[in-house]
Symmetry: C2
Subunit: 430 residues, 2 copies
């Protein structure tokens, strides 16, 4: 056992894991051979949890254990170890609909706060791949389906009222993780919170304006109110490109600790935010020899395709599987009703598009001015260059927050992204 | 004990109650004297629960016991006896803020599903009073405050995110009672559900049109979606005039079994619906000798004042006690921010007004075409006369559902109510 005096349950490590896993027949048989044959390797980014790959002669598993604090910081930053139980529950619930897009959960140990899932061999964290310049041609289709499935089928469009209320009741107890989002996404970036940081002094002017922009803060407060009260679907709750594992032909969504019932636009908007963040960052990563212009095109195409695929799949699910209590199918059984419902589906998705753009803007802002930044920008070592890329992203985010309805289509958003990219960060990779 | 073979817990009656109550020191001392001195009287309307008034030499209490079915119907209509526990929890939660407007809860017995509350001597069920022609001059102020207090202080405007999530988690388990509302308010009236009834054949044309009005059904489905997903505040959940006890100088809200986290407009709209229902019904109750025109004026004034008082109190609470997580006060600390937040408060209430009108319309419709009707209309014995009053209400409700934003003010709503009243039911009391 590792030495963690401040944790009141055993903390497993490379040495102790095999004996623990050997007691679980399903896991042991998946690994094959004997415990002595199993190779354990710590693979977590090391910040929050312990994550191990365990490889046996028959197969592999991934083991994730939570401590009651942020691992990299220690006991000064407590973090509920219950987060792993919400990850497990979300994997089970989402797994009913998107089995191929999340790792298969194999075991959850509530005493050790330890989760065992399928090991995703051959996949990399999407953000790392994007920063290195990679494109993933199947990603937009995979994640568009994932979003439609995970959100539609856990919403009132698919579920009976009582079944959804029981799920809401369960996930509403994920209070501590939700509060992190309430604070870090919707609150801290808009005042001088001590843990905020940004590229300074280059972006001091932007930060100054941001914190005095009442129109912007009203928009953010409305989005926060939605996050707090509008329980549309079981959302992943932190769907950035670091929570996605990819290869050229596979896409998996991981790290469901922030799962809760919330607005659908939060997941869709967060994902689009990180694609746009990478787009603006690529302008800074580009060099005359490697201008990354193809990847930039792919990123903007992907923004369009993610939304388009999501919308198409969502509408199709509603048409074929809209058995939930929200829009009773018997209201709309005749041809006139069918037409009205078809129009309402489009109208519903139009409203969701506006929500999505707002949440997208909020996510971009908090990744530049809040505590948690992204490798996309942070790996641009020249601060002037980084700041000019970030400035493009800030201007885009501002428009998405205060005037989302000026964007009639997702293509209009990418046209604006291109414009902001050229305006502030366009010189570096030419 | 009464004989209830199909109930797996003791069902108390006039004879067994005193011995049971004697075991509770707080209740016994409130009643005073000895159990033999206590007079027990069944006072429930007899439909759903057993309700007893217990009077002792020192004071009185009210005892309410739930069976696992609707009392008047029997085991064929099961109804969760857990409803009493939600009533108790709602009395505790709302009681923190509106103590003077709900009966004080004294004891809850989870085994017997039995709730003991303060007895409201001298008060009558508001609907009975209204049907008999009474006016309650303090009602609009009392209920406007009640609505503002109960809704504001249980919302994200007043509560911290984690505290509200725990409350949502608790009340979301009130699935069975919520499903009754989902079905009876938002679904059944819009198709030929077997338990629907209406004044027929007089209103057959209205029913026919209603069930074929796709625009109306889309509006109702949107409201239902709000009821299912938009957890703005702890709502009473069934705030009609039969859930309110009144005297000339007191007002109390009872029967919180349908309490849940839902849209604020549901409570406000339901209450306004029943004031309007009574207004339209009074046209039918009026006679040349007793035209009830003063009461009609009072009802329309009360509609205006309930909303106006609610809005004023709600805004004032937000200004003085807006410590919740939704609109962080530190966003709006400077004068510019203060102005922006003041504008947003008005804008928030404008949106809530539109929600309220929609829910008001849905409640009126379901009380005319659904299963549960009101004594207001039902006591108009001449079916032609009743139907013409109901027709006025239907036309009003239709406008509230399909075009709520045409009403800029609550006064405009009462102007329309007067017009509809004169158009269809205006002849009887002249």
């Amino acid at each position: 056992m590792a030495d963690h005096e401040d944790v009141d349950y055993p903390v497993l490590d490379e040495r102790s894991l095999p004996a623990y896993l050997a007691r679980m027949p399903e896991v042991a048989s998946r690994l094959g051979g004997a415990p002595a044959d199993w190779v354990v390797q710590e693979i977590g980014d090391g910040n929050v949890n312990f994550v191990f790959a365990v490889r046996g002669p028959g197969g592999d598993v991934c083991v994730k254990q939570a401590l009651p604090y942020v691992r990299a910081v220690g006991a000064e930053w407590p973090l509920t170890p219950e987060r792993t139980s919400f990850e497990y529950r979300a994997l089970l619930e989402h797994g009913r609909y998107v089995a191929g897009r999340v790792p298969k959960p194999l075991h959850y140990d509530p005493h050790l706060r330890l989760l065992i899932v399928e090991y995703l061999g051959g996949l990399t964290v999407m953000r790392h791949g994007l920063v290195a310049g990679a494109c993933y041609p199947n990603f937009a289709e995979h994640i568009g389906s994932y979003l439609a499935q995970s959100l539609f089928f856990t919403s009132d469009l698919a579920l009976a009222g009582p079944d959804k209320r029981i799920l809401m009741s369960l996930f509403h107890t994920n209070t501590e993780m939700c509060q992190i989002m309430e604070d870090m996404v919707f609150t801290e970036p808009y005042w001088d919170h001590p843990r905020n940081r940004c590229t300074s002094p280059q972006l001091d002017d932007e930060r100054y304006q941001l914190q005095r922009d009442s129109r912007l803060k009203i928009a953010v407060a409305r989005l926060k109110t939605q996050y707090l009260a509008n329980a549309e679907a079981l959302i992943h709750g932190d769907l950035h490109t670091g929570s996605i594992m990819v290869s050229l032909d596979d896409t998996r969504v991981i790290d469901q600790e922030f799962a809760c019932y919330g607005p659908m636009g939060f997941d869709v908007g967060t994902l689009l935010a990180h694609l746009l963040i990478n787009y603006f960052a690529q302008i800074g990563h580009g060099t005359p020899k490697d201008p990354r212009s193809k990847q930039q095109e792919w990123l903007l195409e992907t923004v369009v395709e993610v939304w388009t695929n999501f919308r198409l799949h969502f509408c199709a699910f509603w048409e074929t599987s809209g058995a939930g209590d929200a829009y009773p199918s018997l209201f709309f059984a005749d041809p006139v009703g069918q037409t009205a419902l078809a129009e309402e589906r489009e109208s519903y998705l139009d409203r969701l598009f506006i929500d999505t753009l707002g949440f997208c803007g909020a996510e971009i802002i908090r990744r530049i001015f809040g505590f948690a930044h992204t490798a996309d920008f942070d790996t641009i070592t020249d601060p002037d260059r980084r700041a000019s890329c970030e400035r493009s992203a800030i201007r885009m985010a501002h428009q998405l927050l205060v005037g989302p309805s000026q964007y009639q289509t997702i293509t209009a958003v990418t046209v604006a992204a291109r414009k902001f990219g050229e305006q502030f960060g366009g010189d570096y990779n030419k």
